[in-house]
Amino acid sequence: MKYFKIINTLLWLATLTGGVTGCTEPIELIGDDMESRLVITGTLSTEPGYQIIEISSTVPYFGTDLPENIDAAKVVLNGRELTRDAPGIYTTGENFAAVEGETYVLEVWMDYDGDGQQEYYSATTTVPYVHVLESLSVKSLVPGAVDIPFVLLAGFQDTPGDDYYGAALWINSDLYSNRILRYYVHSLNDYSQDGSFIRYPIPEWIITGSLVWDNGETYDLYSGDVLTVELQTLSEEYYRFLQEAKIEKNQHFPLFSGPRGNVTGNISGGALGIFGSYAVSRKSVILPKCPGLPERQ
């Protein structure tokens, strides 16, 4: 989203206003505990491999408990029963690849409410057609220089009509986008480029000498490191889910935060979660030698 950084910067700057005018104090939440709810999540990719359906249950938001998986009686994908690999984890075979244009139906039977009767949950997704990532390069943000910080430029041919894009980043063999906060969701606000070849700077990752990593650690980068971008063409319902989930997980700005709400899923029967699909195309680029990046020893 080309306006993302303007808006995000505006929000952070404006938040300083509230920060310097107020004091803070922890408070207790007083209210009834919510009944736990069933969660079914799963995605199908055009890339061959295990495709996973995960079934779990919600836990109180302000507690110390973490959600745990639970088993279903039966999980079926397009009429074929999936294999239970671990508690609440159901998979296809290892070489399963979703077919572009195909519609898949997920069906789950389980007695979640413990009344002795099995409930039925289902969802459908139509796998989108791939948009091939034709080019990937790094561009320095320092005019005229070849040095950090870099931004990744992705080139691909858009097709006329609504297309929903996301992207994940690998650094060497490590999946940097292993959390939704580091996953890029493209915003649909530039209709002037509909059907054109798009050469797009991805604002989500600014490549510097080190990137924020899990648990407060950093991931150090070196010249010669391989950056791989996986361009994902998402099914519409999966796109909406990722977009809303990212909003919910991003910092909320008291002066500008809109109303909170549940992330919209597509599971019938009252379950939370999402069953979606995406088509994959990857390309890699090597970080060049430059003053700001050391060389690996």
Binding site: K2, Y3, K5, I6, I7, T9, L10, L13, A14, L16, T17, G18, V20, T21, G22, C23, T24, E25, P26, I27, L29, G31, M34, S36, R37, V39, T41, S56, T58, P60, Y61, F62, T64, L66, P67, K139, L141, P149, V151, I180, L181, Y191, P201, E244, A245, E248, K249, H252, P254, L255, F256, S257, G258, P259, R260, G261, N262, T264, G273, I274
Partner: protein
């Protein structure tokens, strides 16, 4: 037999004797006595003064907005009793042998001798008039209420009136009977105001030295006004007096000064008032480096001219300019209002009057900031130009006809952000985000009729407004389908000067008052109101950076039907008042945001809004003491407010953001001695509704929150006590007066929440954190006048 004839004869004679005065009366000539009631010291007109015929079988009337009255009386000697709050009641005697017009002057009560009644009109006036749900407060009351940072504030007083709650801690916004802040019309000399806050809402833009009085209509809005659903706050600017005087105050973080006087007696009077804060002078003492170098201040200037062309023509000019500036580190924001209003009052005769007004308002904000990669600026503006013609005709005593025409054109520039330099994404300098401009045009014809019936025990008022609203270009028009998806992604470009959409509306108004006994009146009213302008408020935490937009093909006008009924009583020779009032509001086309809306600088805002219905209802109790050394009021309001909007909260009914069932306001003034007075107030309100998650689950290595209902939780209850002590210094009864005011805001340091945030402990456990703005805030101000 002879005795019977004698008895009959005497009896007949007695009745004949009785009938003679009646017949004489019936045959008696009547004349019109009209006039104007004014302040004997400065010539200011007195609105709502009681003009009563002594021994006149309860013949009385009130002066209107021009200070004028009309009575039809029999020829002969007439003795009038004229009274007005804060003034000595006086009697005037005259011979009425033809139609007469006269001037009646009242002398202000000595401030040092008697405690004044706490409101700008008498208990008797409130008891008798047809309108209900009205609170009128004069500048004297505003000055006595304890202050925040030493600055008296009109809107802080409004927030302590029955049925009114502050929108949030420190905010100048307010809810009236469950309505949202944008449903309150705020007029300053008939100019519409859109944002009335200084310093994020800690203060309002009204300088109490430049305000004569204010009237809050909580639902029974007169037919000559409209445009908002919940209330009308009419703020009347003060006028200069004939005698030159200076008034000022020096406080810890702000000071003010006003001068007023007259030229050629009171032919031309003027008033100029200004104030400025200087809180940033003390910031270098802070430990925090960011705060040390910050800038935070505001100023405002008021000007008022009154030109008495002749006895039938007055011209008024009102000017206002105010600005806030806040800067810290590499970012800053400036915002403020400019207002201009010109009025011409003309009397065609002693019964027929006209007022012509032209007004202009501008509100804008300018936010600038910079980071390592870019500099940016975000601006927004709203402008309103209006004119109105009001006519009032009094065909007979106790009968008032009003009619007129109003027209307002609004220009909206909701937001424009420009990025300068090279952005992190590599996008070039020229990139900007602009929300397309919008224009609205509202024209209204209205009339109302008010008259007394049944020996003046009953007052009946009814009226009608006929509205036409138009949208005008230039703009980009976005239309959505029934699922709020854009019909055309690019929108339709509407050129400048093209009117492309209109709405008609009718707003009937009805009010009735019945004086059951001299101390008890029963009232009822009905009002339908329409609103063509909407505030997109990002959060309840108050911000100057909000967006106003007009109605459009996809944003229908909000509408409301409100019925009210109540009983009002005066007790113990009108020294006390008690009232109970119930209300019910039915709202349509109220708007709210969908879940996860795209709010900031998003032009296709129609896709983010959802529309539905609302209901508010409640009961208000008020007990008031008007005279004596201890005066003030206590009010309790119970009210509920809900919305039902398809697409929000799964289409189920939910609490509106202004649903706060219990509200208690206690305001007390105590005169310890002629030199010292104490004021105390305590406010309580149920906590503000808020949406909080109740569950969570894993997705993509993140814990995703799960919510049940929107606004199903509440912040902690709000309550706060303020106190002030005013000490008059120096010698009394001298022209030079000065006093010291010591105020404490939030006397017992209640930590009232302003916002709620989510935080995470190092263990990964989530917890809630509230932000609060104030602990105990003392202030001291030295006031003077000469």
């Amino acid at each position: 037999m002879k005795r019977h004839f004698t008895v009959i004869g005497i009896t007949l004679g007695f009745f004949l004797a009785l009938m003679l005065p009646v017949s004489a009366l019936l045959a008696q000539t009547k004349h019109t006595l009209s006039g104007k009631v004014m302040d004997g010291q400065d010539g200011e007109i007195l609105t709502g003064a009681v003009v009563k015929v002594v021994e006149g079988n309860d013949i009385w009337t009130l002066t209107d907005a021009r200070g004028r009255f009309v009575l039809t009386l029999p020829e002969g000697r007439v003795k009038l009793e004229v009274s007005y709050i804060g003034y000595e009641t006086q009697e005037h005697e005259l011979i009425l042998d033809s139609n007469k017009d006269t001037f009646l002057f009242l002398t202000p009560l000595s401030y040092y001798l008697e405690s004044v009644t706490v409101f700008a009109e008498s208990a008797g006036t409130r008891l008798r008039r047809a309108e209900m749900s009205i609170e009128r407060v004069d500048a004297e009351v505003i000055r006595r209420v304890p202050t925040l940072f030493g600055e008296v504030d009109l809107l802080k007083v409004v927030q302590m009136l029955p049925g009114v709650q502050a929108a949030s801690e420190g905010s100048s916004g307010f809810h009236v009977r469950g309505g949202s802040p944008d449903q309150n019309m705020i007029l300053f000399d008939n100019a519409t105001l859109y944002n009335v806050s200084h310093m994020l809402g800690f203060f309002s833009i009204f300088n109490s030295d430049a305000v004569r009085d204010m009237t809050l209509y909580k639902g029974d809005i007169p037919a000559r006004f409209g445009g908002r659903l919940s209330s009308l706050l009419e703020v009347v600017p003060a006028e200069g007096a004939g005698r030159f005087s200076v008034k000022g105050g020096i406080g810890l973080i702000s000071s003010k000064l006003s001068i007023q006087g007259g030229v050629a007696g009171d032919r031309l009077t003027y008033l100029a008032a200004g104030r400025r804060t200087y809180a940033d002078f003390f910031l270098p003492l802070a430990k925090n480096e960011l705060v040390k170098n910050a800038t935070i201040h505001f100023y405002d200037l008021n000007g008022r001219l009154r030109w008495r062309v002749n006895d039938n023509n007055y011209i008024y000019l009102t000017l206002y300019n105010g600005r806030d500036k806040f800067a810290i580190s590499d970012m800053g924001v400036k915002f403020g209002n400019s207002v201009a209003a010109i009025n011409w009052n003309h009397s065609f005769s002693d019964r027929f009057f006209m007022q012509a007004h032209a007004t202009y308002t501008n509100y804008d904000y300018d936010f600038k900031g910079s980071t390592n990669q870019m500099e940016m600026e975000w601006v927004s503006r709203i402008q309103d130009a209006g004119m109105r013609l009001d006519f009032s005709y009094m065909p007979a005593a106790g009968h008032l006809l009003e009619f007129g025409y109003t027209s307002n054109f609004q220009w909206y520039q909701p937001g424009k952000a420009v990025g300068i330099g090279e952005l992190e994404s590599g996008v070039q300098i020229e990139q900007d985000i602009t929300m397309s401009r919008r224009q609205g045009f509202v024209n209204v014809l209205y009339f109302s009729n008010e008259h007394k019936l049944f020996n003046e025990r009953m007052e009946l008022r009814y009226g009608l407004r006929l509205n036409r609203f138009d949208n005008a270009g230039p703009t980009t028009l976005y239309k959505v389908d029934e699922n709020y998806n854009l019909i055309e992604e690019e929108g339709e470009e509407i050129p400048s000067g093209v009117f492309f959409h209109h709405e008609y509306g009718l707003e009937p108004r009805l009010g009735i008052s019945y004086l059951a006994t001299p101390d008890l009146s029963l009232k009822a009213s009905y009002a339908r109101t329409l609103q063509y302008v909407h505030l997109l408020s990002f959060s309840s935490a108050g911000s100057p950076m909000e967006i106003w937009i007009p109605s459009s093909p996809c944003i229908k006008p909000q509408s409301s039907h409100q019925v009210s009924a109540g009983a009002f009583a005066t007790l113990f020779r009108k020294n006390y008042e008690a009232s109970v009032e119930v209300f019910y509001k039915d709202l349509d086309n109220v708007l709210d945001f969908k879940d996860h809306p795209n709010l900031l600088l998003y032009d296709k805002i129609e896709t983010e809004l959802r529309f539905g219905t609302g209901k508010s209802y409640g009961i208000e109790f008020l007990f008031r003491r008007n005279k004596g050394v201890l005066t003030g009021w206590v009010s309790y309001t119970w009210s509920r407010s809900f919305r039902t909007i398809p697409g929000v909260n799964n289409g189920q009914k939910y609490r509106s953001p202004s649903d706060r069932p219990h509200n208690i306001n206690v305001v007390l003034f105590y005169d310890i001695s002629p030199r010292m007075e104490v004021s105390l107030n305590w406010v309580y309100a149920t906590g503000q509704p808020v949406t909080l998650p109740e569950g969570r689950y894993w997705f993509y290595n993140e814990l995703i929150p799960v919510y049940t209902e929107r606004n199903s939780y509440r912040m902690a209850d709000y309550h706060r006590m303020d106190a002030s002590l005013n000490i008059r210094l120096g010698k009394m009864n001298r022209r030079w007066k000065h006093s010291l005011n010591i105020s404490v805001y939030n006397l017992y340091g209640r930590k009232n929440p302003w916002a709620i945030n989510f935080r995470m402990k190092p263990t990964g456990e989530q917890y809630l954190e509230m932000t609060y703005l104030f602990s105990v805030v003392p202030s001291i101000t030295w006031n003077f006048s000469f």
